[in-house]
């Protein structure tokens, strides 16, 4: 009897969604189960539909939100909101019109469900194991934390999905990242993913779907897993995935849009068959020891330029890119960055804006004050998280400490809505990209965990958070 070839999680989800197999001449046609859209990467796709007289094929599989260009200062209704510039306002208006015209569900300004696109999918229970999920946004990889195959696409492809619910795809390779041991107190999922990107480089995952596994991952919260998968794209990976397990099901069971009753039982049965089979083969394998990790920070202008919070900036001679990066950051090789004065702290973004992230920061800020020299923004990932945080008094802790408590959105992660870091200013940010000018022209960004960001806000310089964690 011939044995069935063991398959990886990715291979199972891929195979289940093939409308037609790839050949040398043609890519595969892949069916998409959930399409998330936001205001920045969709207008040209809707124009394409209009120009070609096309409709949206499966209206119930596309969900819209507004997050990138939207203000984070309180708004009562759309007429009064202050949007950063006429173009951004036009973009938001276009999004509303497009969703209305094509009959798509949109979480508008007055919706309690509005939030960052990658935060609301899981929060609503739309993100589920085994689904194919796409969005015109690279951090779509976040949803892989539930065992979904989720990846970012361009605007032309947004048009393809709207019109056909399908995408043309070549099958990517697989990379397993096994994390042995467990994270020490004060070291979080953010530190782990920064360490991984530091190890494999910002192009280390290019062409691959990564699957995270091992003790440190199975004992990690869903929020932590989302942080990990979110930043897979920063290593260049097509997607990041984690096998669904009891933590996944527990997270999903009471979510508003997750399957109910018999549908739940059926789904659960299907989901339980998804984890990679014993003996399944990956194209590449990487192992990392979690026991050894310290809180991590970035020092350069890409997320692969990473050091332990107490370590010196490396010395790298004859590397033009390295010199350019540290010149931009105004730091020197060999220098340690703890005690470096900072100007801004940003807690937010689809990487670290969930309730547990805010709680982590609040634990440190409780009954303390941030430095007078620091401006601090706390921006919840969704309006629901905002409400939940307020219900347990986190907003008061932040405000009392001297931080600003805002409405949900991308905010200072990319500074499109006017929340920016001024030229030359140094920011410690829980977001995912420290590219030149990412948080505003000339801004300098240090990526870190919520704990490190909070501790740094108190001290007014880059700080090892373990000083504040008992």
């Amino acid at each position: 009897m011939s044995q069935i070839k063991p398959k990886t999680l990715f291979e199972k989800v891929w195979k289940e969604h093939i409308v037609s197999e790839e050949t040398l001449a043609n890519p595969a046609i892949l069916y998409i189960d959930l399409h998330l859209i936001h205001e920045v990467t969709t207008p040209q796709a809707f124009s394409m539909l209009r120009n070609n007289n096309l409709d949206v094929r499966k209206k119930n599989l596309t969900i819209g939100t507004m997050d990138h260009s939207t203000p984070t200062l309180p708004v009562n209704n759309f007429k009064d909101i202050e949007i950063a510039g006429a173009d951004a306002a036009n973009q938001v208006r276009t999004m509303i019109k497009n969703c209305n015209d094509f009959g798509l569900e949109l979480f508008d300004f007055d919706s309690i469900n509005r939030g960052i696109v990658h935060v609301i999918g899981p929060e609503l229970g739309l993100t589920q194991p085994g689904k194919t999920i796409v969005c015109g946004d690279s951090h779509t990889s976040t949803h892989g934390a539930f065992g979904a195959l989720a990846f970012g696409i361009g605007t032309t492809e947004v048009g393809h999905v709207l019109a056909t619910q399908c995408l043309l795809q070549r099958k990517p390779k697989t990379l397993s990242i096994e994390v042995l041991g467990s994270l020490k107190n004060g070291v979080s999922a953010k530190d782990l993913i920064l360490a991984i990107i530091g190890k494999i480089g910002v192009d280390g995952g290019t062409g691959y779907v990564m699957e995270y596994m091992g003790e440190a991952i199975s004992s990690m919260s869903m929020e932590g897993r989302m942080t990990m998968c979110n930043m897979s794209i920063e290593a260049g990976a097509k997607a990041g995935m984690i096998a669904p397990d009891d933590a996944t099901y527990e997270f999903l069971i009471d979510k508003p849009r997750s399957p109910k009753k018999e549908a739940w039982d059926k789904a659960l049965k299907r989901w339980k068959s998804l984890p990679s089979d014993e003996g399944s083969i990956f194209d590449k394998i990487i192992t990392i020891d979690a026991n050894k990790l310290e809180p991590m920070i970035t020092f350069g202008t890409n997320p692969g330029m990473v050091i332990g919070v107490n370590d010196p900036v490396p010395i790298s001679e004859n590397d033009a890119a390295f010199s350019k990066a540290i010149d931009y950051m105004q730091i020197s090789p060999g220098e340690t960055l703890h005690n470096k004065p900072i100007d801004v702290v940003f807690i937010g973004s689809c990487t670290n804006s969930r309730l547990s992230d805010l709680q982590e920061a609040a634990n440190i800020l409780k009954d303390r004050k941030i430095s007078d020299d620091v401006t601090m923004l706390v921006v919840p990932g969704s309006q629901k998280i905002k409400r939940d945080a307020e219900a347990i008094g986190l907003d008061k802790i932040f405000k009392k400490a001297g931080a600003q408590w805002r409405e949900a959105g991308c905010s200072m992660c990319l500074g499109m809505n006017g929340d920016t870091v001024d030229p030359g200013k140094l920011s410690v940010s829980t977001s995912n990209r420290n590219f030149e000018g990412r948080q505003g022209k000339g801004s300098r960004t240090i990526l870190a965990s919520p704990s490190t960001a909070a501790a740094s806000a108190i001290e007014g310089n880059i700080t090892d958070p373990r000083r504040y964690i008992t």
Binding site: A25, G154, T156, D203, K266, A267, G304, L414, R433
Partner: protein, 195 residues
Amino acid sequence: MEGLKQIKSRTLVLPNKDIDTDQIIPARFLTTTSKNGLGKHLFHDWRYHDNGEKNTDFILNKNQNETFEILVAGNNFGCGSSREHAPWALTDYGFKAVISSKIADIFKSNSLKNGLLPIVVNDEVLEELINNPNIELSISIENSTITFPDKKVISYEIDEFSKYCIIEGIDQLGFIQRNNEAILKFEEKREWTPR
């Protein structure tokens, strides 16, 4: 999108590695609802000083009277966001090909849908191109080859389907639509329905 068979141009070289999409076009220029006119923001923060004046040291400003259709860039070009505004800005400026030793996945896929040819060469070839800027290359898309000024010819790899689409200027949507029967069948026989 027009079909593209041959590109003949001098190269513009940006040797930096890991050039991300935020450098190709910064986020604050993404508030547009059209694809057009983004060339003026291409590499904006490298091209212009904070006061809005041109940075005359930046390569794109040095060779203003020449048109370049081929961009040579350091390893891992186009990493970062999925914004299709990046290839839109490059093509609007006039580029038809980008050559690097690694090109980020989403950027590559976006480029192929906009008549911008992403060519991946090995480290050695890239080094040669970086060390010899502003040389005239002839790229044949049909033969998947690059011809150097000294007549040296190297071949590069490109997915057959993408090659066909670039040459014919075909929008891939039509290909999916022609498979509508298969999509309907897939939807019908699925064991579960999303949502």
